[in-house]
Structure formats: structure tokens, C-alpha cells
Symmetry: C2
Subunit: 431 residues, 2 copies
């Protein structure tokens, strides 16, 4: 049931509203200081394509990523071959720290020497959480929230089981997220570690990381932030906020490509106190001596385990380079305008459509995506995909509009939501 | 000291010998049923380049990898975007098992449903070894060897520490490797797991995996094989040999590219008995329900933790496709001819050069690379790199000649070893 029994007849207000929003979008696009970045992305090559609204899940590829993958295959891999690991100005051996530092400088507010790129988000989260526990012996509780991204919950459940820890769950409001007061009520002298997301994957709620870090530290616990849904869209100040450890993904707003390697951060003061469990040759001091006995490399390098995923890092560097050039503050400004426009359009829809905004209305607490909800949105999302509008669906009833500032125009938002309104008005099954 | 004080004067035998070997190489190349595969690789674009002899460390890129990376960026990533995870004939969500099965069919001797591609070799080894221990509760010993690849040793040291296990070391002869008799003497009723390499990373020794699996099972232990230095060069029959778990890398003879994701195998009968520790959303049953509580996916999928590294898997598929087409038995035949030629050339060198063959002379026990040794080979290797001959150096005194059958001609071997002989005769520092 698409329209909840009301408003299934022709909706004459639509043309008028869209015209108004189209004019507003045109003005915003004309004045957009980041408009030129739209040309930096590989164009979508599909007849009838309307707009991509899922940059919060899989960012679009940059033209530079395409070019640099080709250059890698012909040059560093195909010609320099094994020498590329150790020789030249940009040896692959150093990429974990180099690309980590590039991300840190572009959008983490972190000084160099605290971030590496390696593994998947899940594996890095496992390593970081396990590492954190080694710095809090005698404490047996991990604090997390019921609406954290699934892999975070699953990883921590596994760690709790194997390390004899208890999980203490904060009951998060799925339309918002976790408040610092809830963390304050949850932590205590048994708490070893607090693990929460910066931006909630469903609602887009921005948690107050400095306050949560302070509250965690007040109880003697460490704080690990999941930045997957904020990095590259929302400014982060890891050093200033006192975040102890962080993990994030590079395939959303950083454009690293499907399954691109993740980044991990351990603040400098903590690096000597923690030990991650997957002792690999690439995190060892002097790896090419290949000698007996594991001795962790100095600093953040010890977070690395296996051979750095160079091919996977090429698009990451290209995407991070764009973010650095555009500037995270300018990106955030456009992000707020984009999500505000989306909410205004949804608010203009007749009540009969039955669509709710399930994201914070306060722009200061809202990240780079807006979730709207309706009971049949699984089917509506499928219908939108058929019509060249590509958001994503998140159970039970949410469509996420992920508005990546560098690759999304204001006109995209208007066109896409016009199609969405039409689909809902006519029924998802209509042609 | 390059020549150990003898034979530093002009070596008149060289021209004559090389002529003989050049003729033999020309005959072998002319009759090589795999010769056409040389054209499948991206050409080295460097003036003065002579030959690449490090396919055992980083395989050369295939032309198909280059083309398919470009197609991915324009098509599945750039145009189909997020839909590629779930839609179409080849959804990314299924790539871990699909590419795993492709590797299994091409060169592991493993039926479908037992292999996935994910993570780095190091991380997968960690997960597999931890998983194996869950199936042998009450046993507290892991058997490994002193000359196993460093990351294997470091990972197992870490696991022993965190799981309260003891390590029992087999003292491997670095010019050969581990014999089944040594394993028989090491295992007992405390042994939970035996972890050994199929082909030794230094000597190239082929361990007798069926015998080692049988000996391990005789003691009630599980056997985990590291296939990094054999897969794609030496036939493997995991199912027939009774190997319980295996891990291997795809960036050597499979051409997956620097840091490409690894593969892991768990034999079907064991899959329900083991549990790997990194519980991620991509290894959960019904991942997109994103519900509470981790429930492992059925079968080998539960070995997956994070988002599959699609960009990194594209060159893997291309490389594995070549291996499948060429056939692992034909590859092995050429591999034996290549390493035999290399040994014959080194054997023809004057004793005064002081070069030793540190690999098995029995071709049946020798993998895809030959290690030769001399005290100053670190410097000689550097001099070879300067002259367009690219093997690799392994401490303390070995140069590995890695002869990837699909991308190496017999003439390559002759030309490269001519340069090596010249360098050693004149001194590594000579122009």
C-alpha cells in the first residue's frame, strides 16, 4: 500500500512545488563554490539516469581514481614491479602511514603519526577494540548502543565472548542517537571501553564526541569512535576532542571504491600502552629482517598486520585528495544546504503521502544523509532504482538520502525527490 | 667482496656457456605451449629492462586486469553504483565465495563452497588458526617450524599468548623444509593444530602435505596449510590430501596485484565445528536485516568479516582466469623446466664465483622459485636491480629467482643470469 489510502488521485500541487524548489536549486548550484567538483567524478553512463543519492554508502568514483589505477598498472606495478615496495619517493611500504596521514590532515583533525590505512573497517575495529582492552586490565565492561552499525555490535559481542567482558547497552533513539548524558549514566569503574558512532548510520544524528570522550575519561574508560558515516562529510577533530581510538571507512564520502581499506587511529599518548592481537610481519619492527620473535614497530605502524592493499588504496588517495582540496568546512556547508533542501522538499509533500523525516531537524546535529520513512519504502526504493534514482533502503522502513557534497548538485536533490513523489503518488508498481 | 678473491679476471667461459644456454632457451621457448601467455601481461615500460624474476613475490599485471579495472570504474562502480552489491548476474556480495571458488577450481583441488577471498593473508591466517582452535578444546599446543614465513610465526606467537597455547617448533633445514617425519615426532595428544607452508618461502621446498595431514590427523590435530608460495605454480589437491584449513595469497603467481586480498579454505566437514573470532556483518546470516545478535552465515561465508574488497579482487579474478585457462599441470611442467634451466646455468658457473644453490635439486620437491646464495648477495641484488634484472633478496644471503611460468620466458632466465654472472665477475659496484 503505497499511499496509505489517501491522496492516490492526481496531486496538482506537485508541479508548482517542484518549480519553486527547482528555482531554489538553480540558485544554490549557481552560487556553489564546490560546483566545479561535480566534474571530477566519472559520469554515470546510463540512459534515463536521474540522480545518485547514496554517496553515504558507496561514493562515486573520481576521474583521478580511474586515471591513477591505470597508471599504477602500467607504472609502479607493471614496470617498477617489486621495487615499488621500497624504492622511489613514494614507496608502497609507507602507504599505510602516508595515506593515513593524508586522511588525518584532510578530515580527521589529527596530527601525523596516528592514523594508518589497512584491512576492512570490521577487522580494524576488532584490532582497535582488542588493543584498547590491553590498556584497561581489570575492567570488564564495554559500553555500546543498540543502534550502532551492525558490524560494530557483532564485533564487540565476539570480543566480549572471547575476553570475558560484559556488554552494557545504551538504548539509542533510532531517530536520533546517543546523548552524552546516556553515556554518563552507563559508564563506571568497570568500564574499559566505550564504542559509539559519530554519525548514526540510520538517522544521521551527530553524537557529541568531545562530551562523550570527556564522560568516558571521567570514568577511567577509553573511547573508540566509529567515523564511517561522518568522515569526509562532517568535520572531525580527533586530537582536540580527546578521542582515544577511531576507525572509519573510505568508500563512502572519501570515494575509495567498493570494499576499500579502512583507516584506524590511535592517539599518540596511547600508542605505547596498547597491543593489537594480529601480529603480522608488516607491523613488526624491521619487517625484512624476517627474524624470530614479533616485536611491534614503533608508533601507529604496529596497527598494521598484513601486506598493505595498494591497489585498493589508489582510489582512496584520489578521493582524499579531492576532499583536502575542497576543504572539509566548505564540504560541511554544502552538506547542510543539501540536507536542508531535502527536508524542506519532503516537508512540502502532502501529509497524505505519509512520509516522515527520521533524521534530526537541527542541522548542527545532522550528518550527511537524511532518512525518510514510510511502511512500504522497501518497495518504493526498488521502484526508484528502476527509475534511475538511487538512494538506499534500511530496514525496517527507511530510505536514506545520502547527499555527498562533492558529487551531488542541488538540482539532483530536486529531480530525485520529484521522482520519489511521483512514485509514491502513483504507486510503486506503476510504470 | 664479490668474487671471494678468485676469478676476478676476465671469465672467457662466459660467452660460450651463454651461447649454449641461449640455444636451449630458444628451443624451449619455441616449443612452449604456454608461450602465448607472455602477451597477456602488461609490458614493462623501461629502457634497459632485462627480465623480471620475482613473480614469486609480486606477479606482473595482466592486460585483462588493467582493462577490467577500467571497466569496473566506468561500469559496475561508476554507473551501476550501489546496485552492484545486490543486483545483476554477478553481485559483489557474492564475490568472496565466487572468486574463492574460481581459485579453488583453477588451482586448489577443492570443491566449491570451501574457499573465500577476504582480508590479507595475515588476517585470514589469524582467523583460520583461531577458528581451528575452537574445534580442539582442551589441547594446548600449536606445531609450526622455525623457517616458516615470518608472518605465520608472528601470528601464531600472538595467538599462543592470547589463548594460553604453547608453540612447539620444528627445526627446519633452511635449504629444504619440513619433512613429515619431523611432524610425526612433534605432534601428540596435546597438539591442537599444525601450521606449515606448502612451499618454503626461502628454499622453495615442497612439503609433503598429504603425509603431513595424515600425521596431524593421526595425533588428533588439525592441519592448516599456508599456500602462499605454491598457489598458481604447484598443483594443490586440498580435498584429496585431507588438508583441514588453508590460506594463501593472490599477489604472487595469481597476479592479484600489490596487497591483493587473500583466500581462505575450510574443508566442508569442519565448517560447522569452527568459529572464527572477527564477527562482522558480512559474515552474518542475512546481513541486511542488520538485526541484533551475531549469527554466523552458513558454510564458508562465515569466514568473511568486513565488506568484500571488490577493487582489489578485480585483478585477482583476471589472474586466476589465466591460470584456469592455461591449466595448473601445464604451468607446473613449465615451472620445472624454468627452474631446472636456472639451476643448470648456475651449476655451469665457475666455482670461483662461490654461488650455492639453496633449493632442492629434486624437481619433485622444488616449487616455482630457486634460491641461490652468496655472502654479498644483498649488494649483488641491488646491482642487478640497477641493471634491469629484478629478483629479490632474502636475508641473510639469498637471491630468489622467482620464475612465474605464464610471464617468464626461458630466454628471460638466460639473459638475467648472464647479467648476474657479469655483475659478480666484475664486482657489484662496477658500472
Amino acid at each position: 500500500m503505497i499511499d496509505e489510502g489517501r491522496g492516490a488521485t492526481e496531486d496538482t500541487s506537485q508541479t508548482q512545488d517542484s518549480g519553486e524548489f527547482a528555482r531554489r536549486a538553480a540558485e544554490l548550484d549557481a552560487a556553489d563554490p564546490l560546483a566545479s567538483y561535480l566534474e571530477e567524478f566519472v559520469p554515470v553512463d546510463e540512459p534515463g539516469f536521474v540522480a545518485y543519492l547514496d554517496g553515504n554508502s558507496l561514493g562515486r568514483p573520481t576521474r583521478r581514481a580511474a586515471a591513477e589505477l591505470g597508471e599504477l598498472v602500467r607504472g609502479a606495478w607493471g614496470t617498477d614491479l617489486i621495487r615499488s615496495w621500497t624504492d622511489g619517493a613514494d614507496p608502497w611500504m609507507e602507504w599505510p602511514e602516508r595515506v593515513g596521514d593524508e586522511i588525518a590532515a584532510a578530515c580527521l583533525g589529527a596530527a601525523a603519526g596516528q592514523t594508518v590505512v589497512a584491512d576492512s573497517t570490521t577487522v580494524l575495529l576488532y584490532k582497535l577494540a582488542r588493543a584498547a582492552l590491553t590498556a584497561r586490565p581489570g575492567r570488564d565492561e564495554i559500553v555500546l548502543d543498540t543502534d550502532n552499525f551492525p558490524t560494530d555490535r557483532y564485533v564487540l559481542e565476539g570480543i566480549a565472548g572471547e575476553c570475558g567482558m560484559s556488554l552494557r547497552w545504551i538504548d539509542a533513539d533510532p531517530r536520533e542517537g546517543v546523548h552524552a548524558e546516556q553515556v554518563a549514566a552507563a559508564v563506571g569503574d568497570r568500564t574499559a571501553l566505550v564504542v559509539l558512532s559519530h554519525v548514526a548510520y540510520r538517522s544521521g544524528w551527530i553524537a557529541d564526541l568531545p562530551a562523550i570522550a570527556a564522560v568516558s575519561h571521567g570514568a577511567g574508560a577509553l573511547f573508540l569512535a566509529d567515523l564511517c558515516h561522518s568522515v569526509g562529510a562532517v568535520p572531525v577533530e580527533l586530537d582536540a576532542w580527546g578521542v582515544d581510538l577511531a576507525v572509519g571507512c573510505t568508500y563512502k564520502f572519501l570515494g575509495g571504491g567498493p570494499g576499500a581499506p579502512a583507516f584506524g587511529y590511535i592517539c599518540r599518548d596511547l600508542q605505547d600502552q596498547v597491543r593489537q592481537p594480529i601480529q603480522g610481519w608488516m607491523g613488526r619492527a624491521d619487517p625484512f629482517t624476517m627474524g624470530p620473535g614479533y616485536q611491534p614497530a614503533a608508533g601507529i605502524r604496529s596497527l598494521v598486520s598484513g601486506t598493505p592493499p595498494i591497489v585498493g588504496m589508489v582510489p582512496v588517495r584520489a578521493g582524499v585528495g579531492l576532499v583536502a582540496r575542497a576543504g572539509i568546512d566548505a564540504i560541511r556547508c554544502k552538506s547542510i544546504e543539501l540536507t536542508t533542501l531535502a527536508i524542506d522538499i519532503v516537508d512540502s509533500w502532502p501529509d497524505a503521502l505519509g512520509v516522515r523525516v527520521s533524521s534530526p531537524r537541527d542541522a548542527a546535529r545532522r550528518g550527511g544523509h537524511v532518512t525518510i520513512s514510510r511502511g512500504d519504502f522497501r518497495q518504493v526504493n526498488a521502484a526508484l532504482w528502476q527509475r534511475g534514482v538511487i538512494p538506499d533502503f534500511r530496514a525496517p522502513d527507511g530510505i536514506r538520502l545520502g547527499l555527498a557534497p562533492l558529487s551531488t548538485s542541488y538540482a539532483d536533490v530536486v529531480r530525485a525527490l520529484d521522482v520519489a513523489r511521483t512514485v509514491m503518488t502513483r504507486g510503486a508498481g506503476a510504470p
